[in-house]
């Protein structure tokens, strides 16, 4: 009883508190340590990701979110000398299919085939090409066709824009302009020659996209703008080109020829105003202007010029004092060079004539020209040919343009000199021969031809192509003399049909037998040509027309009328004032014509196909000739 409670120990609570405090400190330290360790690990990982693997993940992220859109460059246009479009690129629709979304390929192919004008079997294959998700059905269809396909509302059919090359004038100058492949690269002609200029430079746009593949606005990362292709301005005149092609085509049809070539150049500048190629009728189709995939014959096809080459021989002979225009020769109708070789003959029989050099040219006498060549050395003939540019490419850069073939004078043997003098054993392009006549028209100085007038870059700056300076071949006096002699050919010789009212014409016919693969000359196939310039007293244009194997053997009634028609168009179009107001030459030519001589080109009257040529190959240009044929013996002049 009355026992007092024992006092509580004081030290015990203090120890507990201390212990609690110590435990929480430890826990805090442990947590801190854990946090530090965790963050440390994270930091290490982040550092590892950022510093060690950063580039790799950045690349992966970019690949996942960025998209590169190619920006195609618009192909440059091709213009004529007056700025008219000859070739332009416009965007059209290409029709494609996603075969995975096409439920019924057979039905869809049947509906699409007549609209797209594509083989139905091909469409079926394309529409059934699973597991592909993209297959082309038709490239660059026109707007109307695309609209018809769109109206069908077929599942799995889509459209992508694609640039298409368009030639507004259709087949005009096809072989000259060439074509472009589906990849947008030039394949032939000007399109191929100037492809690096025309195609421009592609660009690209890099944008960010969402997981669904949609572009996210305002996230453009990089842009390399496409640079439009350079425009090309040709020296060609579209209207004159059309005239040349259609005059030539009508005559090719009328004469059942295998083909033809024509070109017009401006004598003062060398500008080629037209360059036409026509293919004759074949068993497969009617005569037509050469297609873009075919050769541009005036620059690529070799043939033996025949009598037009007498210009070269006589110019050189006059220039070097071998003969004068009035030097007299006794000219029989046949002459023998070598006892082992057949004699050379003039085109028609005539008694031995006392002819001047001018008469020989006017009558296109082979024998007379050979008489002149007798006074020249082998080297003279070779020098003459070289000086007028034969055996060398023209100044026009053109794929596949040959040099031509000239026989080395050391290999002329007995007849080579004489054959060359009358245009055999010499292979030339039509443009080379036109160059030779343009040289005489230009007062004896060459006038290298130009086909590229200018380029217009993507900024719109026009860069004019400089003219190539000419070289003197013969003196101005010789050129004037030759022009006068060539006027005589048209006034009263073999070129009557080239005469035109108002303008004196200087020119020369040429008819050359074609060399057969056997090495002998054909008795029926020949090349007929007329090359000349007008007005003869103040030359403005030089032109050539060559027909491959026309029905008539006389170039005077086949090539010369076409030449006259084309030249009249050129003179009228360029407002060249008539210089022969009293029509002296024209009246003389009319008076000299034989009865029944037809000097017109029959427009649109000839049949479109030629039964004469059925089964014949449609090869334009000659099959070539042996360059070193010691005995061409064509026996034919004119």
């Amino acid at each position: 009883v009355g026992r007092a409670p024992a006092p509580r120990p004081e030290a015990k609570p203090k120890a507990n508190e201390f212990k609690k405090s110590r435990d929480s400190g430890r826990r805090l330290a442990a947590c801190s340590a854990i946090v530090i360790v965790v963050f440390g690990v994270l930091a290490v990982r982040v550092a590892n990701l950022q510093l060690m693997s950063g580039n790799r993940y950045e690349r992966l992220a970019v690949a996942q979110s960025l998209r590169t859109i190619p920006l195609s460059a618009a192909r440059g246009g091709i213009f004529d000398r007056n700025g008219r479009d000859l070739a332009i690129s416009i965007e059209r629709s290409t029709v494609y299919a996603d075969p995975m979304l096409v439920p019924d390929p057979i039905t869809e192919a049947a509906k699409l085939a007549p609209i797209l004008r594509v083989d139905e079997q091909y469409l079926r294959r394309q529409l059934s090409a699973r597991p592909l998700q993209f297959s082309y059905l038709a490239h660059t269809v026109d707007d109307a066709t695309a609209e018809k396909v769109r109206a069908l509302g077929l599942p799995g059919i889509g459209f992508v824009p694609e640039p298409a090359r368009t030639y507004p004038s259709g087949a005009l100058a096809g072989a000259l302009l060439g074509s472009v492949g589906t990849e947008g690269h030039g394949l032939n002609g000007i399109e191929y020659l100037y492809n690096s200029l025309l195609e421009g430079r592609s660009g690209q746009l890099v944008v960010e996209q969402d997981p669904q593949g949609h572009d996210i606005p305002n996230t453009q990362h990089a842009r390399v703008s496409a640079r439009r292709g350079t425009d090309v301005v040709l020296t060609i005149d579209e209207d004159l080109q059309w005239q040349a092609e259609h005059s030539l085509l009508d005559q090719v049809i009328a004469q059942h020829a295998k083909g033809g070539m024509a070109a017009v150049v401006d004598v003062a500048t060398g500008d080629v105003l037209s360059m036409a190629t026509v293919r004759g009728a074949t068993a497969e189709g009617a005569a037509r202007v050469a297609a873009p995939t075919e050769r541009n014959s005036p620059l690529t096809d070799l043939f033996e010029p025949g009598s037009t080459n007498k210009l070269v021989t006589l110019s050189w002979a006059i220039e070097h004092g071998v003969v004068e225009p009035d030097t007299m020769f006794t000219v029989p109708w046949t002459t023998r060079i070598d006892p082992h070789v057949k004699p050379y003959k003039d085109d028609e029989w005539h008694p031995p004539m006392q002819w001047t050099t001018s008469d020989i040219l006017r009558e296109s006498s082979n024998v007379g020209t050979i008489e002149i060549a007798r006074r020249m050395r082998n080297q003279d003939i070779a020098d003459a040919l070289r000086a007028f540019g034969l055996g060398t490419k023209t100044a026009i850069t053109w794929p596949g343009q040959p040099n031509g073939l000239l026989v080395d004078p050391s290999e002329y043997y007995a007849t080579g000199k004489y054959a060359s003098a009358i245009g055999y054993g010499v292979d030339v392009t039509a443009m080379q021969m036109l160059d030779a006549f343009a040289t005489i028209a230009n007062g004896g100085m060459t006038r290298p031809p130009r086909l590229l007038d200018a380029t217009i870059d993507s900024h719109g700056t026009r860069h004019v192509t400089p003219s190539v300076s000419g070289t003197r071949v013969v003196s101005a006096a010789t050129a004037r003399t030759m022009a006068t002699m060539l006027e005589g050919v048209v006034s009263g010789g073999t070129g009557l049909c080239a005469a035109m009212p108002g303008y004196p014409v200087a020119g020369k016919t040429g008819t050359a037998k074609k060399l057969l693969p056997s090495g002998k000359y054909s008795n029926s196939a020949h090349m007929a040509s007329f090359i000349g310039f007008a007005p003869a007293d103040h030359p403005r244009f030089a032109a050539m027309v060559v027909l491959d194997d026309p029905a008539s053997v006389y170039a005077s009634v086949t090539a010369a009328p076409v030449w006259s028609e084309i030249m009249q168009s050129a003179l009228t179009r360029y407002s060249v004032a008539p210089t022969d107001a009293t029509d002296v030459q024209y009246k003389a030519a009319q008076a000299a014509k034989l009865p029944g001589m037809n000097c017109t080109v029959p427009h649109g009257t000839a049949p479109a196909t030629s039964p004469v040529l059925s089964g014949h190959p449609a090869a334009a240009g000659s099959p070539g000739s042996l360059p070193n044929d010691p005995n061409p013996n064509p026996n034919q002049g004119h």
């Binding site: 008219r84 479009d85 332009i88 690129s89 416009i90 965007e91 707007d143 368009t166 507004p168 004038s169 259709g170 087949a171 005009l172 606005p217 305002n218 579209e238 209207d239 059309w242 005239q243 035109m500 009212p501 108002g502 028609e565 009249q568 009228t572 008539p578 210089t579 022969d580 107001a581 017109t600 080109v601 427009h603 649109g604």
Partner: protein, 112 residues
């Protein structure tokens, strides 16, 4: 402190507004670019159409549709005979004759 908060909110609002404006501008730019592309395409198509319709073959085809034919020849109109001689002073007459012979040699001795 209050001022700082207001400034922050205002800045954020301005930032959002700017972003919205930028996005809207991008849409507008895209729309304009698309319109420009369409107009360029239309221009190209019209240019091709003009070139096609003005090509020689189209004109000839249209002319033939209208019944026109090519007569296949050229008619050159000759200049009329010179006018009667005018009465002028000797000096001016000589100058005229000299000029005439220089510029019109093909018309011979016909004086103006």
């Amino acid at each position: 402190m209050f001022g700082f908060g207001v400034a922050t909110v205002a800045s954020l609002f301005a930032l959002v507004a700017f972003h919205v404006f930028a996005v809207q501008s991008t849409f507008t730019l895209d729309r304009i670019a698309k319109a420009r592309t369409n107009e360029e395409l239309r221009n190209e198509r019209l240019r091709a159409q003009v070139a096609t319709l003005s090509s020689p073959s189209s004109i000839i085809a249209r002319a033939e549709q209208l019944g026109m034919t090519n007569d296949g020849g050229f008619e050159y109109v000759q200049a009329p005979k010179a006018a009667p001689k005018r009465v002028t002073s000797d000096a001016s007459q000589q100058a005229l004759e000299k000029s005439w012979k220089t510029t019109k040699p093909h018309l011979g001795d016909n004086n103006p």
